[in-house]
Protein backbone atom coordinates (compact mmCIF):
# COMPACT_ATOMS: atom_id res chain seq x y z
CA UNK A 1 0.00 0.00 0.00
CA UNK A 2 2.81 2.43 0.87
CA UNK A 3 4.40 1.81 -2.51
CA UNK A 4 1.06 2.43 -4.15
CA UNK A 5 0.72 5.72 -2.28
CA UNK A 6 4.24 6.72 -3.32
CA UNK A 7 3.30 6.05 -6.93
CA UNK A 8 0.22 8.19 -6.47
CA UNK A 9 2.22 11.01 -4.86
CA UNK A 10 4.87 10.81 -7.55
CA UNK A 11 2.35 10.87 -10.38
CA UNK A 12 0.77 13.95 -8.85
CA UNK A 13 4.05 15.70 -8.22
CA UNK A 14 2.84 19.01 -9.58
CA UNK A 15 -0.12 19.28 -7.22
CA UNK A 16 1.94 17.96 -4.34
CA UNK A 17 4.80 20.39 -4.90
CA UNK A 18 2.78 23.18 -3.30
CA UNK A 19 1.93 21.15 -0.26
CA UNK A 20 5.47 19.88 -0.03
CA UNK A 21 6.99 23.35 -0.12
CA UNK A 22 4.51 24.54 2.46
CA UNK A 23 5.59 21.77 4.82
CA UNK A 24 9.23 22.48 3.97
CA UNK A 25 8.95 26.17 4.78
CA UNK A 26 7.21 25.53 8.07
CA UNK A 27 9.88 22.99 8.93
CA UNK A 28 12.69 25.46 8.24
CA UNK A 29 11.03 28.20 10.29
CA UNK A 30 10.47 25.76 13.13
CA UNK A 31 14.05 24.59 12.90
CA UNK A 32 15.32 28.17 13.22
CA UNK A 33 13.04 28.96 16.14
CA UNK A 34 13.78 25.71 17.93
CA UNK A 35 17.52 26.18 17.41
CA UNK A 36 17.26 29.52 19.13
CA UNK A 37 15.04 28.24 21.93
CA UNK A 38 17.21 25.21 22.54
CA UNK A 39 20.31 27.41 22.56
CA UNK A 40 18.76 29.76 25.07
CA UNK A 41 17.61 26.89 27.22
CA UNK A 42 21.00 25.25 26.96
CA UNK A 43 22.62 28.44 28.29
CA UNK A 44 19.91 29.03 30.84
CA UNK A 45 20.31 25.69 32.54
CA UNK A 46 24.04 26.13 32.94
CA UNK A 47 25.09 27.55 36.34
CA UNK A 48 25.59 31.30 36.43
CA UNK A 49 29.17 30.76 37.64
CA UNK A 50 29.01 33.81 39.88
CA UNK A 51 26.59 35.83 42.00
CA UNK A 52 25.51 39.42 41.56
CA UNK A 53 23.47 39.99 44.71
CA UNK A 54 24.86 42.73 46.96
CA UNK A 55 27.32 43.77 44.29
CA UNK A 56 27.33 47.33 43.05
CA UNK A 57 29.21 48.55 40.03
CA UNK A 58 30.87 51.93 40.03
CA UNK A 59 31.97 53.75 36.90
CA UNK A 60 33.96 56.96 36.88
CA UNK A 61 36.52 58.96 34.91
CA UNK A 62 39.73 59.68 36.63
CA UNK A 63 42.78 61.05 34.96
CA UNK A 64 46.19 61.02 36.54
CA UNK A 65 49.34 62.89 35.70
CA UNK A 66 51.43 60.76 33.37
CA UNK A 67 54.59 60.30 35.38
CA UNK A 68 53.91 58.98 38.81
CA UNK A 69 52.40 55.48 39.03
CA UNK A 70 53.16 55.15 42.73
CA UNK A 71 50.93 58.06 43.54
CA UNK A 72 48.10 56.41 41.60
CA UNK A 73 48.52 53.26 43.65
CA UNK A 74 48.55 55.32 46.82
CA UNK A 75 45.48 57.22 45.71
CA UNK A 76 43.51 54.02 45.16
CA UNK A 77 44.72 52.54 48.44
CA UNK A 78 43.36 55.62 50.19
CA UNK A 79 40.02 55.42 48.35
CA UNK A 80 39.66 51.74 49.14
CA UNK A 81 40.51 52.36 52.80
CA UNK A 82 37.88 55.04 52.93
CA UNK A 83 35.26 52.78 51.35
CA UNK A 84 36.10 49.83 53.57
CA UNK A 85 35.75 52.03 56.61
CA UNK A 86 32.04 52.33 55.82
CA UNK A 87 30.27 49.57 57.78
CA UNK A 88 28.10 48.58 54.76
CA UNK A 89 31.06 47.97 52.47
CA UNK A 90 32.47 44.49 52.63
CA UNK A 91 34.90 44.37 49.80
CA UNK A 92 36.15 46.44 46.87
CA UNK A 93 37.89 45.52 43.64
CA UNK A 94 39.06 47.74 40.84
CA UNK A 95 38.11 46.30 37.48
CA UNK A 96 38.40 46.91 33.77
CA UNK A 97 35.34 48.39 32.10
CA UNK A 98 33.91 45.03 31.00
CA UNK A 99 31.95 44.51 34.21
CA UNK A 100 29.42 41.67 34.45
CA UNK A 101 26.21 42.49 32.52
CA UNK A 102 27.68 45.72 31.10
CA UNK A 103 28.02 44.25 27.61
CA UNK A 104 31.35 45.86 26.97
CA UNK A 105 33.99 43.71 25.39
CA UNK A 106 37.74 43.71 25.59
CA UNK A 107 39.00 40.80 23.57
CA UNK A 108 42.24 39.36 22.30
CA UNK A 109 43.47 36.23 20.59
CA UNK A 110 45.76 33.52 21.90
CA UNK A 111 48.10 31.43 19.81
CA UNK A 112 49.18 28.31 21.60
CA UNK A 113 51.29 25.82 19.68
CA UNK A 114 49.00 24.76 16.81
CA UNK A 115 45.86 26.15 18.44
CA UNK A 116 44.66 29.63 17.73
CA UNK A 117 41.80 30.96 19.83
CA UNK A 118 40.06 34.24 19.12
CA UNK A 119 37.53 36.34 21.04
CA UNK A 120 38.98 35.73 24.47
CA UNK A 121 37.53 38.24 26.95
CA UNK A 122 40.21 39.85 29.05
CA UNK A 123 39.28 41.00 32.55
CA UNK A 124 41.70 43.10 34.58
CA UNK A 125 40.78 42.80 38.24
CA UNK A 126 42.13 42.68 41.78
CA UNK A 127 42.50 39.81 44.24
CA UNK A 128 39.19 40.57 45.96
CA UNK A 129 37.23 40.24 42.68
CA UNK A 130 36.71 36.46 42.88
CA UNK A 131 35.22 36.61 46.36
CA UNK A 132 32.98 39.58 45.52
CA UNK A 133 31.46 37.72 42.57
CA UNK A 134 31.74 34.29 44.14
CA UNK A 135 33.66 32.84 41.21
CA UNK A 136 34.01 29.08 41.52
CA UNK A 137 37.61 27.87 41.40
CA UNK A 138 37.74 24.52 39.61
CA UNK A 139 41.47 23.96 39.53
CA UNK A 140 44.50 25.70 40.99
CA UNK A 141 43.89 28.94 42.84
CA UNK A 142 42.87 32.56 42.51
CA UNK A 143 45.40 35.44 42.71
CA UNK A 144 46.94 36.46 46.00
CA UNK A 145 49.71 38.71 47.33
CA UNK A 146 52.40 36.24 46.30
CA UNK A 147 51.65 36.98 42.69
CA UNK A 148 53.45 40.31 42.92
CA UNK A 149 56.73 38.58 42.28
CA UNK A 150 56.65 36.42 39.23
CA UNK A 151 58.74 35.23 36.39
CA UNK A 152 55.71 34.78 34.11
CA UNK A 153 52.70 36.98 34.68
CA UNK A 154 50.00 34.78 36.25
CA UNK A 155 46.64 34.35 34.60
CA UNK A 156 43.36 32.67 35.58
CA UNK A 157 41.24 31.28 32.78
CA UNK A 158 37.67 30.05 32.61
CA UNK A 159 36.80 26.45 31.93
CA UNK A 160 35.77 27.02 28.30
CA UNK A 161 39.12 28.57 27.48
CA UNK A 162 40.87 25.75 29.29
CA UNK A 163 38.95 23.20 27.19
CA UNK A 164 39.94 25.01 24.02
CA UNK A 165 43.60 25.28 24.91
CA UNK A 166 44.26 22.11 26.86
CA UNK A 167 41.21 19.87 26.36
CA UNK A 168 41.03 17.59 29.33
CA UNK A 169 44.75 17.85 29.92
CA UNK A 170 46.60 19.73 32.62
CA UNK A 171 46.34 23.53 32.56
CA UNK A 172 47.78 24.63 35.87
CA UNK A 173 51.40 25.68 35.56
CA UNK A 174 51.25 25.76 31.74
CA UNK A 175 52.56 28.78 29.89
CA UNK A 176 50.35 30.31 27.23
CA UNK A 177 51.18 32.59 24.34
CA UNK A 178 53.51 32.21 21.37
CA UNK A 179 56.19 34.82 22.09
CA UNK A 180 59.49 34.19 23.83
CA UNK A 181 59.09 32.28 27.11
CA UNK A 182 59.50 35.35 29.30
CA UNK A 183 56.44 37.02 27.70
CA UNK A 184 54.22 33.99 28.22
CA UNK A 185 51.53 33.91 30.87
CA UNK A 186 51.39 31.22 33.49
CA UNK A 187 48.04 29.61 34.23
CA UNK A 188 47.50 29.47 37.99
CA UNK A 189 43.78 28.73 38.12
CA UNK A 190 40.68 27.69 36.24
CA UNK A 191 37.26 29.07 37.16
CA UNK A 192 33.82 27.87 36.23
CA UNK A 193 32.40 29.83 33.24
CA UNK A 194 30.70 32.96 34.60
CA UNK A 195 27.73 34.00 32.44
CA UNK A 196 28.59 37.71 32.37
CA UNK A 197 26.28 38.39 29.41
CA UNK A 198 23.10 37.26 31.07
CA UNK A 199 21.36 33.99 31.86
CA UNK A 200 20.46 33.21 28.24
CA UNK A 201 23.83 33.89 26.64
CA UNK A 202 26.80 31.58 26.60
CA UNK A 203 29.75 32.43 28.80
CA UNK A 204 32.32 32.67 26.05
CA UNK A 205 36.05 32.47 26.70
CA UNK A 206 37.59 34.47 29.51
CA UNK A 207 40.92 35.18 31.16
CA UNK A 208 41.59 37.22 34.28
CA UNK A 209 44.74 39.20 35.09
CA UNK A 210 45.76 41.27 38.07
CA UNK A 211 45.70 45.01 37.69
CA UNK A 212 49.27 46.15 38.16
CA UNK A 213 51.32 49.27 37.99
CA UNK A 214 51.34 49.00 34.22
CA UNK A 215 47.66 49.61 33.81
CA UNK A 216 46.23 50.92 37.06
CA UNK A 217 46.10 54.48 35.77
CA UNK A 218 43.55 53.53 33.11
CA UNK A 219 41.10 51.86 35.45
CA UNK A 220 37.64 53.46 35.56
CA UNK A 221 35.48 50.90 37.29
CA UNK A 222 35.13 49.07 40.55
CA UNK A 223 32.90 46.43 42.07
CA UNK A 224 31.77 46.92 45.65
CA UNK A 225 30.26 44.17 47.74
CA UNK A 226 27.85 45.66 50.23
CA UNK A 227 26.26 44.21 53.34
CA UNK A 228 22.68 42.97 53.12
CA UNK A 229 20.32 45.83 53.80
CA UNK A 230 22.47 48.44 52.10
CA UNK A 231 19.81 50.71 50.65
CA UNK A 232 19.26 53.83 48.58
CA UNK A 233 20.22 56.01 51.53
CA UNK A 234 23.53 54.24 51.71
CA UNK A 235 23.89 54.51 47.96
CA UNK A 236 23.55 58.28 48.28
CA UNK A 237 26.17 58.29 50.99
CA UNK A 238 28.49 56.13 48.96
CA UNK A 239 28.00 58.42 46.03
CA UNK A 240 29.01 61.39 48.15
CA UNK A 241 32.12 59.66 49.42
CA UNK A 242 33.17 58.67 45.91
CA UNK A 243 32.37 62.03 44.38
CA UNK A 244 34.47 63.66 47.07
CA UNK A 245 37.42 61.45 46.31
CA UNK A 246 37.04 61.76 42.55
CA UNK A 247 36.66 65.37 41.56
CA UNK A 248 34.87 65.66 38.19
CA UNK A 249 34.76 61.89 38.12
CA UNK A 250 31.18 61.50 36.82
CA UNK A 251 30.61 58.76 39.34
CA UNK A 252 27.82 56.33 38.54
CA UNK A 253 26.58 53.50 40.75
CA UNK A 254 24.51 50.63 39.43
CA UNK A 255 23.25 47.42 41.04
CA UNK A 256 24.36 44.30 39.20
CA UNK A 257 20.98 42.74 39.96
CA UNK A 258 19.29 45.51 37.96
CA UNK A 259 21.74 45.13 35.12
CA UNK A 260 21.00 41.42 35.07
CA UNK A 261 17.28 42.01 34.91
CA UNK A 262 17.56 44.33 31.95
CA UNK A 263 20.05 42.19 30.06
CA UNK A 264 17.81 39.13 30.46
CA UNK A 265 14.85 41.18 29.41
CA UNK A 266 16.57 42.31 26.25
CA UNK A 267 17.52 38.72 25.46
CA UNK A 268 13.98 37.46 26.02
CA UNK A 269 12.10 40.12 24.14
CA UNK A 270 13.37 39.22 20.66
CA UNK A 271 12.87 35.57 21.50
CA UNK A 272 9.28 36.19 22.51
CA UNK A 273 8.62 38.34 19.46
CA UNK A 274 10.13 35.73 17.17
CA UNK A 275 8.13 32.99 18.84
CA UNK A 276 4.93 34.95 18.40
CA UNK A 277 5.67 35.70 14.76
CA UNK A 278 6.55 32.11 14.08
CA UNK A 279 3.45 30.81 15.82
CA UNK A 280 1.39 33.06 13.57
CA UNK A 281 3.29 31.64 10.65
CA UNK A 282 2.70 28.10 11.84
CA UNK A 283 -1.00 28.73 12.35
CA UNK A 284 -1.06 30.11 8.83
CA UNK A 285 0.74 27.10 7.48
CA UNK A 286 -1.55 24.80 9.44
CA UNK A 287 -4.62 26.47 7.99
CA UNK A 288 -3.08 26.33 4.53
CA UNK A 289 -2.24 22.68 4.97
CA UNK A 290 -5.69 21.96 6.26
CA UNK A 291 -7.21 23.86 3.35
CA UNK A 292 -5.14 22.09 0.73
CA UNK A 293 -5.88 18.67 2.20
CA UNK A 294 -9.53 19.51 2.49
CA UNK A 295 -9.61 20.75 -1.07
CA UNK A 296 -7.76 17.68 -2.31
CA UNK A 297 -10.23 15.41 -0.63
CA UNK A 298 -13.19 17.16 -2.16
CA UNK A 299 -11.52 17.05 -5.53
CA UNK A 300 -10.98 13.35 -5.05
CA UNK A 301 -14.51 12.39 -4.10
CA UNK A 302 -14.83 10.35 -7.29
CA UNK A 303 -11.66 8.45 -6.49
CA UNK A 304 -12.79 7.92 -2.92
CA UNK A 305 -16.15 6.58 -4.09
CA UNK A 306 -14.43 4.26 -6.50
CA UNK A 307 -12.07 2.95 -3.83
CA UNK A 308 -15.02 2.30 -1.57
CA UNK A 309 -16.75 0.44 -4.41
CA UNK A 310 -13.82 -1.87 -4.99
CA UNK A 311 -13.31 -2.76 -1.38
CA UNK A 312 -11.94 0.05 0.76
CA UNK A 313 -13.64 0.50 4.11
CA UNK A 314 -14.28 4.00 5.41
CA UNK A 315 -11.43 3.58 7.84
CA UNK A 316 -8.95 2.49 5.19
CA UNK A 317 -9.86 5.60 3.17
CA UNK A 318 -9.03 7.89 6.06
CA UNK A 319 -5.88 5.91 6.85
CA UNK A 320 -4.86 6.24 3.21
CA UNK A 321 -5.31 10.00 3.13
CA UNK A 322 -3.52 10.55 6.41
CA UNK A 323 -0.70 8.25 5.29
CA UNK A 324 -0.42 10.16 2.04
CA UNK A 325 0.11 13.46 3.83
CA UNK A 326 2.51 11.83 6.27
CA UNK A 327 4.54 10.46 3.36
CA UNK A 328 4.57 13.89 1.82
CA UNK A 329 5.75 15.27 5.16
CA UNK A 330 8.49 12.62 5.13
CA UNK A 331 9.71 13.86 1.76
CA UNK A 332 9.60 17.50 2.86
CA UNK A 333 11.42 16.65 6.07
CA UNK A 334 14.10 14.75 4.19
CA UNK A 335 14.77 17.78 2.00
CA UNK A 336 14.52 20.11 5.00
CA UNK A 337 16.84 18.02 7.12
CA UNK A 338 19.38 18.08 4.33
CA UNK A 339 19.48 21.87 4.59
CA UNK A 340 19.27 21.92 8.37
CA UNK A 341 22.15 19.49 8.79
CA UNK A 342 24.41 21.93 6.96
CA UNK A 343 24.37 24.27 9.97
CA UNK A 344 26.29 22.00 12.30
CA UNK A 345 28.36 20.60 9.42
CA UNK A 346 29.52 24.01 8.25
CA UNK A 347 29.50 25.34 11.82
CA UNK A 348 27.53 28.37 10.66
CA UNK A 349 26.88 30.08 14.00
CA UNK A 350 29.57 28.41 16.11
CA UNK A 351 26.97 26.64 18.23
CA UNK A 352 27.42 23.11 19.56
CA UNK A 353 26.08 20.49 17.12
CA UNK A 354 23.87 19.05 19.85
CA UNK A 355 21.76 22.21 19.81
CA UNK A 356 21.03 21.86 16.10
CA UNK A 357 20.30 18.18 16.46
CA UNK A 358 17.84 18.73 19.30
CA UNK A 359 16.21 21.52 17.29
CA UNK A 360 16.07 19.25 14.25
CA UNK A 361 14.39 16.52 16.25
CA UNK A 362 11.89 18.93 17.80
CA UNK A 363 11.06 20.45 14.41
CA UNK A 364 10.57 17.02 12.84
CA UNK A 365 8.26 15.90 15.64
CA UNK A 366 6.37 19.17 15.47
CA UNK A 367 5.88 18.99 11.70
CA UNK A 368 4.66 15.39 11.91
CA UNK A 369 2.19 16.37 14.60
CA UNK A 370 1.10 19.37 12.59
CA UNK A 371 0.52 17.34 9.44
CA UNK A 372 -1.17 14.58 11.39
CA UNK A 373 -3.53 16.98 13.12
CA UNK A 374 -4.27 18.82 9.87
CA UNK A 375 -5.06 15.64 7.97
CA UNK A 376 -7.01 13.74 10.61
CA UNK A 377 -10.17 15.73 10.20
CA UNK A 378 -10.23 15.84 6.39
CA UNK A 379 -9.41 12.13 6.45
CA UNK A 380 -12.31 11.46 8.75
CA UNK A 381 -14.60 13.48 6.52
CA UNK A 382 -13.44 11.47 3.53
CA UNK A 383 -14.26 8.26 5.34
CA UNK A 384 -17.79 9.51 5.79
CA UNK A 385 -18.32 10.14 2.08
CA UNK A 386 -21.10 7.94 0.86
CA UNK A 387 -19.79 5.83 -2.04
CA UNK A 388 -22.99 5.91 -4.08
CA UNK A 389 -23.23 9.68 -3.77
CA UNK A 390 -19.55 10.23 -4.63
CA UNK A 391 -19.75 8.00 -7.69
CA UNK A 392 -22.95 9.66 -8.78
CA UNK A 393 -21.37 13.10 -8.98
CA UNK A 394 -19.16 12.84 -12.02
Amino acid sequence: MVKHLFTLIWNKKKQNALLLSEILVSFLVLFAVFSMLVYFYHNYKKPAGFKCEQVWAVSYNQSFAESNTDSVVQYYDAVKQLLLSLPQVRSVSLASSNLPYFQRTIQYGIKQNAISVNNVNSYDIEDSYAAILGLQIMEGRWFDKSDITFKNKPIVINNSLKQRLFGNGKAIGELIGDGPDKDKRKVIGVVQDPKFDGDYTGAGLASFSRIDTGNIRWVGNMLIEVAPGADAAFEAKLYKVLANSMKNGNVEIEYLTNKRKSINYFALVPMIILSIISSFLIVNVALGLFGVLWYNINKRRGEIGLRRAIGASGKSISVQLVTESMLLACLALMIGSFFAIQFPLLNVFDLPAGIYLSALLLAIIFVYMLVLVCSLYPGKQAAAIYPAAALHED
Binding site: M1, L8, R308, A309, A312, S313, G314, L391, H392, D394
Partner: protein, 221 residues
Protein backbone atom coordinates in the same frame (compact mmCIF):
# COMPACT_ATOMS: atom_id res chain seq x y z
CA UNK B 1 -27.18 -15.55 -5.93
CA UNK B 2 -28.83 -12.18 -5.41
CA UNK B 3 -32.21 -11.96 -3.82
CA UNK B 4 -34.17 -8.76 -3.20
CA UNK B 5 -37.35 -8.69 -1.15
CA UNK B 6 -39.61 -5.65 -1.10
CA UNK B 7 -36.74 -3.26 -1.54
CA UNK B 8 -37.69 0.36 -1.08
CA UNK B 9 -35.46 3.39 -1.35
CA UNK B 10 -36.43 6.88 -0.33
CA UNK B 11 -34.12 9.86 -0.86
CA UNK B 12 -34.78 12.65 1.55
CA UNK B 13 -33.50 16.13 0.99
CA UNK B 14 -34.51 19.21 2.97
CA UNK B 15 -37.48 19.91 0.80
CA UNK B 16 -38.51 16.78 -1.06
CA UNK B 17 -38.78 13.10 -0.53
CA UNK B 18 -38.15 10.98 -3.61
CA UNK B 19 -39.34 7.43 -3.75
CA UNK B 20 -36.62 6.05 -6.00
CA UNK B 21 -37.58 2.38 -5.62
CA UNK B 22 -40.73 0.82 -4.32
CA UNK B 23 -41.33 -2.81 -3.47
CA UNK B 24 -38.77 -4.38 -5.74
CA UNK B 25 -38.49 -8.14 -5.42
CA UNK B 26 -36.08 -9.93 -7.64
CA UNK B 27 -34.07 -13.14 -7.70
CA UNK B 28 -30.99 -13.44 -9.81
CA UNK B 29 -29.54 -16.90 -10.32
CA UNK B 30 -25.91 -17.78 -10.47
CA UNK B 31 -24.52 -17.43 -13.98
CA UNK B 32 -27.42 -15.31 -15.10
CA UNK B 33 -26.94 -12.24 -17.33
CA UNK B 34 -29.67 -9.80 -16.44
CA UNK B 35 -30.34 -6.44 -17.99
CA UNK B 36 -32.30 -3.58 -16.46
CA UNK B 37 -34.01 -0.99 -18.63
CA UNK B 38 -36.25 1.95 -18.05
CA UNK B 39 -36.54 5.69 -18.62
CA UNK B 40 -34.11 8.10 -17.08
CA UNK B 41 -34.66 8.67 -13.40
CA UNK B 42 -36.67 5.50 -12.86
CA UNK B 43 -34.24 4.15 -10.30
CA UNK B 44 -31.96 1.81 -12.27
CA UNK B 45 -28.71 3.11 -10.82
CA UNK B 46 -30.26 3.19 -7.39
CA UNK B 47 -31.20 -0.47 -7.70
CA UNK B 48 -27.74 -1.41 -8.92
CA UNK B 49 -26.08 0.56 -6.09
CA UNK B 50 -28.20 -1.29 -3.56
CA UNK B 51 -27.28 -4.65 -5.08
CA UNK B 52 -23.66 -3.49 -5.03
CA UNK B 53 -23.82 -2.51 -1.35
CA UNK B 54 -22.88 1.05 -2.23
CA UNK B 55 -26.16 2.26 -0.87
CA UNK B 56 -28.46 0.87 1.77
CA UNK B 57 -32.15 0.28 1.08
CA UNK B 58 -34.63 2.21 3.19
CA UNK B 59 -36.71 -0.92 3.59
CA UNK B 60 -36.58 -4.50 2.48
CA UNK B 61 -34.18 -7.34 2.53
CA UNK B 62 -31.15 -8.07 0.38
CA UNK B 63 -29.25 -11.34 0.29
CA UNK B 64 -26.14 -12.07 -1.66
CA UNK B 65 -24.87 -15.65 -1.63
CA UNK B 66 -27.51 -16.40 1.00
CA UNK B 67 -25.94 -13.79 3.27
CA UNK B 68 -28.15 -11.04 4.60
CA UNK B 69 -26.32 -7.81 3.97
CA UNK B 70 -28.50 -5.30 5.74
CA UNK B 71 -26.76 -5.62 9.06
CA UNK B 72 -23.14 -6.06 8.02
CA UNK B 73 -20.52 -3.66 9.33
CA UNK B 74 -18.77 -1.15 7.11
CA UNK B 75 -15.67 -3.30 7.08
CA UNK B 76 -17.58 -6.48 6.24
CA UNK B 77 -19.39 -4.67 3.43
CA UNK B 78 -16.06 -3.49 2.07
CA UNK B 79 -14.78 -7.07 2.11
CA UNK B 80 -17.93 -8.22 0.35
CA UNK B 81 -17.55 -5.62 -2.38
CA UNK B 82 -13.92 -6.48 -2.76
CA UNK B 83 -14.27 -10.25 -3.03
CA UNK B 84 -17.71 -10.95 -4.50
CA UNK B 85 -18.52 -7.88 -6.57
CA UNK B 86 -17.06 -6.08 -9.54
CA UNK B 87 -18.27 -2.70 -10.77
CA UNK B 88 -18.33 -1.11 -14.19
CA UNK B 89 -19.56 2.46 -14.54
CA UNK B 90 -20.75 4.55 -17.45
CA UNK B 91 -18.04 7.13 -16.76
CA UNK B 92 -15.32 4.50 -16.14
CA UNK B 93 -14.11 6.03 -12.86
CA UNK B 94 -10.47 5.37 -13.54
CA UNK B 95 -7.91 7.18 -11.39
CA UNK B 96 -6.21 9.51 -13.83
CA UNK B 97 -3.04 9.77 -11.78
CA UNK B 98 -2.39 6.06 -11.98
CA UNK B 99 -1.18 4.08 -14.97
CA UNK B 100 -3.46 1.49 -16.53
CA UNK B 101 -1.75 -1.38 -14.73
CA UNK B 102 -1.96 0.38 -11.34
CA UNK B 103 -5.63 1.11 -11.93
CA UNK B 104 -6.33 -2.54 -12.62
CA UNK B 105 -4.37 -3.63 -9.56
CA UNK B 106 -6.46 -1.44 -7.25
CA UNK B 107 -8.96 -4.02 -5.96
CA UNK B 108 -6.08 -6.34 -5.07
CA UNK B 109 -4.60 -3.67 -2.80
CA UNK B 110 -7.50 -4.19 -0.45
CA UNK B 111 -6.85 -7.87 0.07
CA UNK B 112 -3.84 -9.99 0.93
CA UNK B 113 -1.94 -10.09 -2.30
CA UNK B 114 1.72 -9.35 -2.87
CA UNK B 115 3.11 -7.04 -5.54
CA UNK B 116 4.16 -9.83 -7.86
CA UNK B 117 0.80 -11.57 -7.73
CA UNK B 118 -0.96 -8.25 -8.27
CA UNK B 119 1.06 -7.53 -11.32
CA UNK B 120 0.48 -10.98 -12.78
CA UNK B 121 -3.25 -10.92 -12.19
CA UNK B 122 -3.62 -7.39 -13.54
CA UNK B 123 -1.60 -8.19 -16.65
CA UNK B 124 -3.72 -11.26 -17.19
CA UNK B 125 -6.95 -9.29 -16.80
CA UNK B 126 -5.72 -6.66 -19.25
CA UNK B 127 -4.90 -9.47 -21.65
CA UNK B 128 -8.49 -10.70 -21.46
CA UNK B 129 -9.80 -7.31 -22.55
CA UNK B 130 -7.15 -6.98 -25.25
CA UNK B 131 -5.14 -4.13 -23.72
CA UNK B 132 -1.81 -5.83 -23.05
CA UNK B 133 -0.03 -3.18 -25.06
CA UNK B 134 -1.36 -0.22 -23.05
CA UNK B 135 -0.40 -1.08 -19.51
CA UNK B 136 2.05 1.80 -19.11
CA UNK B 137 -0.39 4.43 -20.40
CA UNK B 138 -2.27 6.90 -18.29
CA UNK B 139 -6.09 6.84 -18.63
CA UNK B 140 -6.23 10.17 -20.45
CA UNK B 141 -4.04 8.69 -23.18
CA UNK B 142 -6.79 6.18 -24.02
CA UNK B 143 -10.02 6.27 -26.03
CA UNK B 144 -13.37 5.86 -24.34
CA UNK B 145 -13.66 2.24 -25.41
CA UNK B 146 -10.18 1.49 -24.14
CA UNK B 147 -10.94 3.18 -20.84
CA UNK B 148 -14.02 1.05 -20.42
CA UNK B 149 -11.98 -2.05 -21.16
CA UNK B 150 -9.54 -1.01 -18.44
CA UNK B 151 -12.51 -0.64 -16.12
CA UNK B 152 -13.67 -4.14 -17.04
CA UNK B 153 -10.19 -5.50 -16.39
CA UNK B 154 -10.31 -3.81 -13.00
CA UNK B 155 -13.74 -5.33 -12.32
CA UNK B 156 -12.63 -8.87 -13.19
CA UNK B 157 -9.10 -8.84 -11.78
CA UNK B 158 -10.26 -10.10 -8.39
CA UNK B 159 -12.38 -12.87 -10.01
CA UNK B 160 -15.69 -11.69 -8.57
CA UNK B 161 -18.79 -13.86 -8.77
CA UNK B 162 -20.98 -10.93 -9.71
CA UNK B 163 -20.40 -8.00 -12.02
CA UNK B 164 -22.61 -4.94 -11.81
CA UNK B 165 -22.44 -2.69 -14.84
CA UNK B 166 -24.21 0.67 -14.97
CA UNK B 167 -24.63 1.65 -18.63
CA UNK B 168 -21.19 0.33 -19.56
CA UNK B 169 -21.72 1.25 -23.20
CA UNK B 170 -23.54 4.51 -22.54
CA UNK B 171 -20.64 6.74 -23.52
CA UNK B 172 -19.50 4.68 -26.50
CA UNK B 173 -20.47 4.43 -30.15
CA UNK B 174 -22.18 1.23 -31.25
CA UNK B 175 -19.05 -0.48 -32.57
CA UNK B 176 -17.19 0.15 -29.33
CA UNK B 177 -20.33 -0.73 -27.42
CA UNK B 178 -20.56 -4.06 -29.15
CA UNK B 179 -16.96 -4.80 -28.34
CA UNK B 180 -17.60 -4.19 -24.65
CA UNK B 181 -20.78 -6.23 -24.81
CA UNK B 182 -18.89 -9.13 -26.40
CA UNK B 183 -16.37 -9.09 -23.57
CA UNK B 184 -19.17 -9.23 -21.00
CA UNK B 185 -21.01 -12.00 -22.86
CA UNK B 186 -17.80 -13.95 -23.10
CA UNK B 187 -17.11 -13.49 -19.41
CA UNK B 188 -20.60 -14.69 -18.58
CA UNK B 189 -20.40 -17.68 -20.85
CA UNK B 190 -16.86 -18.82 -20.12
CA UNK B 191 -16.41 -18.05 -16.47
CA UNK B 192 -20.03 -18.21 -15.42
CA UNK B 193 -19.89 -14.75 -13.88
CA UNK B 194 -23.27 -13.42 -12.90
CA UNK B 195 -23.82 -10.06 -14.59
CA UNK B 196 -26.39 -7.37 -13.92
CA UNK B 197 -26.30 -4.60 -16.51
CA UNK B 198 -28.24 -1.38 -16.78
CA UNK B 199 -28.68 -0.27 -20.37
CA UNK B 200 -30.70 2.02 -22.60
CA UNK B 201 -30.00 -0.09 -25.65
CA UNK B 202 -32.67 -2.65 -26.63
CA UNK B 203 -30.16 -4.47 -28.84
CA UNK B 204 -27.80 -4.97 -25.96
CA UNK B 205 -30.61 -6.07 -23.67
CA UNK B 206 -31.78 -8.61 -26.20
CA UNK B 207 -28.45 -10.40 -26.00
CA UNK B 208 -28.88 -11.06 -22.27
CA UNK B 209 -30.82 -13.85 -20.56
CA UNK B 210 -33.48 -11.76 -18.94
CA UNK B 211 -34.74 -8.22 -18.99
CA UNK B 212 -36.22 -6.30 -16.08
CA UNK B 213 -38.02 -3.04 -16.80
CA UNK B 214 -38.45 -0.32 -14.23
CA UNK B 215 -40.83 2.57 -14.35
CA UNK B 216 -40.92 5.22 -11.67
CA UNK B 217 -39.24 3.02 -9.14
CA UNK B 218 -41.41 -0.01 -9.73
CA UNK B 219 -40.77 -3.18 -11.63
CA UNK B 220 -43.07 -3.42 -14.63
CA UNK B 221 -41.61 -6.48 -16.34
Amino acid sequence: MISLRNIEKVYRTDTVETLALSRISLDIAQGEFLSIMGPSGCGKSTLLNIMGLLDAPTKGDLQINKQRTTDLSDKALAQFRNKILGFIFQSYHLINDLKVLDNVELPLLYRNCNAKERKELATEALGKVGLSNRIKHFPNQLSGGQKQRVAIARAIVGRPEIILADEPTGNLDSAMGNEIMDILLDLNKREGTTIVMVTHDENMARKTHRLVRLFDGSQVQ
